[in-house]
């Protein structure tokens, strides 16, 4: 945790999102079951877990997309259900899993959409908007793509454009649902490094990832979920064990420590043998 303390900003470690006793259900199915979480400014939080464990639902609940059955979500000490959607959108930005837009749309137009919560019918473009869009494009390295159409981009470029759109929203909290799932290892690293940089610059970054190796490397705070419940949470090197991996995914895995920087690496070996009752 030493690298965070070294940043020196006073806002560091402030709680950006607090989730209290959250229950979210679809009909009779309990997707998120009594979850408690605190997500801090300056940190990368990664949520992992098997398919259908409720991690996307948790992310979407934090973005005010599902009304919880029970419990509260506080963003910067405000209950999100006491806020209007437009107010929430100034606090929280969400990039859904595999987002869609018309292929003919230009990159600049897409990124500009991220400014919607800050704009109005009679205030469609301001100096703040221009600055936010420029900064977002510079940070994600898509400035030179501004006038290209989305269909003319590679998967990696397109993903960076989506990230730029989310950044243009200029929210203290950014939620990303599997932002690397369609990318090759190089572009995955690019996105994850950007995520870490953004966190260090004072945002609270929350990701859903399937890749445990990437999760262990880039998470300051790892949240492991199964069946809607948080099974474990904390620093990856403290909580990531063979037992946890078995509990989450029903697989046998070795946890190695990478030789240079002592980050846990999960090596999956086989499906766990189920005990026959």
């Amino acid at each position: 945790m030493g690298f965070i303390a070294g940043e020196g900003s006073k806002t560091l470690m402030a709680v950006a999102i607090k989730v209290e006793q959250l229950q979210v259900n679809y009909g009779s199915y309990l997707a998120v079951d009594n979850v408690e979480l605190q997500l801090k400014v300056g940190e990368v939080t990664v949520i992992v877990g098997p398919n259908g464990c409720g991690k996307s639902t948790l992310l979407q609940s934090m973005a005010r997309l599902h009304r919880p059955f029970q419990g509260q979500i506080w963003v910067n000490e405000q209950d999100i259900w006491q806020l209007r959607p437009a107010q929430v959108a100034k606090q929280l930005a969400l990039l859904p899993q595999s987002p869609e837009a018309p292929g003919e749309m230009s990159v600049l137009t897409l990124i500009q959409f991220g400014r919607h919560p800050h704009q109005g019918l009679f205030r469609q473009w301001s100096a703040d908007d221009e600055q936010a869009v420029q900064e977002a494009m510079a940070k994600t390295g898509v400035s030179n793509l501004a006038n290209r159409s989305l269909q003319a981009l590679s998967g990696g470029q397109r993903q960076r454009c989506w990230l730029a759109m989310v950044l243009a929203q200029q929210t203290p909290v950014v939620l990303l649902d599997e932002p690397t799932s369609m990318l090759d290892p190089g572009h995955q690293l690019e996105v994850l490094q950007l995520v870490r940089t953004l966190a260090r610059q004072g945002k609270a970054m929350v990701l859903v990832l399937h890749d445990l190796i990437a999760a262990a490397r880039f998470a300051d705070n790892l949240v492991a979920m199964r069946n809607g419940k948080v099974v474990a949470s904390g620093a990856p090197r403290e909580i990531l064990t063979s037992a946890l991996v078995r509990q989450l995914y029903d697989i046998e895995a070795d946890i190695l420590m990478s030789p240079e920087d002592d980050v846990p690496v999960v090596v999956a070996k086989s499906l766990a043998t189920k005990e026959v009752a």
């Binding site: 973005a63 997309l65 437009a86 137009t109 959409f113 991220g114 221009e130 600055q131 501004a146």
Partner: protein, 364 residues
């Protein structure tokens, strides 16, 4: 030339939109108010105004009696023969206005419905909205044998009624309005059958007149219904501008739209309500003219960048389509008339097909 967008200072008033400008946007600012728009959309809009103007002059001067351009000029100044004055101001002018109102209303309704459902196929005629509007008018006919049809404002009521039934049967608007589309297609058949039932109950000479009305008819319009209808249309269109500001983002996924601070259901509801009222209004004035509502937005979209919804443009095109079709219908077999809806489908169908096929070739 300097490149001001390379500078990272944005405090000077006009230095912050060169990037937008290069991307084809125009920008207008007055005090704290600012508007951005697609230049291509603006040019198309102006062009369509010009075309409508020409079509308007044509429809005012041509017909069973031709008015020369010299006489037309005199009539515009309030002079000319009284017979021509009567023809122009009491017969052709209200007919032109009715065409514009109907075309604008139907095209606007089509645009909003297509955007709510994100589906080019959804239009007031496909969803049975036009049929619902027609149903109440026909019911008016049946209940009061004096009138040909019920008063025009029954049509928006009928359209809204269909909308309520639709929403009830579909159990809400649903993701991307998909349920509404499915239920609507089914409901349209039912409403159409009800209309045919009503028509078959009418007396023989009534029935044929009513049937030709259901293909669109602008002939019997007068100012007493055009004035309130235009006013209602104006109100709807101004409200629609506010809805479009949010609706333009619906090309993204629903969860994404929501996360941008948009109350998705509220916007969908507002757009749907406006579409219903406008479709009904169009039917009330000009009859259920087919094809305009579905085709105008599709045609316009071919020329516009994808983020532009094109409400204004499709309204202009809708009006032009109706006017041109009506004029052709009046002129070709004069003094007999071909119903305007027949012409719109007859000419519009192949034209739309041509545009769509052309699009395909470009892509291949």
């Amino acid at each position: 030339m300097t490149q001001p967008d390379n500078a990272l200072t944005h405090d000077t008033s006009n230095s912050y939109y060169p990037r937008l400008k290069r991307a084809g946007y125009g920008y207008f600012q007055l005090a704290q108010w600012s508007v951005i728009f697609s230049k291509r959309a603006l040019y198309l809009y102006l062009l369509l105004w010009l075309v409508l103007l020409i079509a308007g002059v044509f429809t005012l001067t041509q017909g069973s009696v031709t008015i020369s351009f010299h006489d037309f000029w005199l009539l515009c100044q309030g002079q000319g023969q009284s017979a021509q004055q009567l023809l122009m101001w009491e017969i052709r002018w209200p007919r032109l206005l009715a065409g514009v109102v109907t075309g604008v209303a139907l095209a606007a309704a089509g645009t909003l419905l297509q955007q709510v459902t994100q589906n080019w196929l959804s239009s007031p005629e496909v969803l049975g909205v036009n049929e619902g509007a027609t149903f109440l008018l026909l019911l008016g006919l049946l209940l009061s044998p004096v009138n040909m049809l019920g008063p025009w404002w029954l049509a928006p009521l009928g359209a809204v009624l269909v909308g309520v039934i639709l929403a009830f049967l579909a159990g809400g608007i649903g993701g991307r309005g998909y349920q509404i589309l499915l239920v609507g297609v089914a409901l349209a058949y039912f409403t159409r059958a009800m209309n045919d039932l009503l028509i078959s109950r009418a007396t023989a000479q009534h029935a044929s007149a009513v049937h030709s009305w259901t293909l669109g008819n602008l002939a019997n319009s007068d100012y007493t219904e055009l004035m309130p209808a235009s006013l209602l249309l104006m109100i709807c269109l101004v409200s629609a501008i506010g809805v479009v500001w949010h609706l333009r983002l619906f090309k993204l996924m629903e969860s994404h739209v929501q996360s941008l601070g948009i109350a998705v259901r509220k916007v969908q509801f507002a757009a749907l309500a406006l579409a219903l009222v406008m479709a009904g209004l169009g039917v009330g004035i000009g009859g259920p003219i087919s094809f305009v509502a579905i085709a105008a937005p599709i045609l316009v979209a071919r020329w516009l960048p994808p983020q532009v919804l094109g409400l204004g443009n499709s309204c202009m095109l809708g009006a032009t389509l109706v006017i041109v079709a009506d004029t052709i219908g009046r002129v070709v077999l004069a003094p007999n008339e071909i119903p305007v809806g027949v012409i719109t489908s007859l000419l519009g169908g192949p034209f739309l097909l041509w545009v769509l096929l052309q699009e395909k070739e470009v892509k291949h």
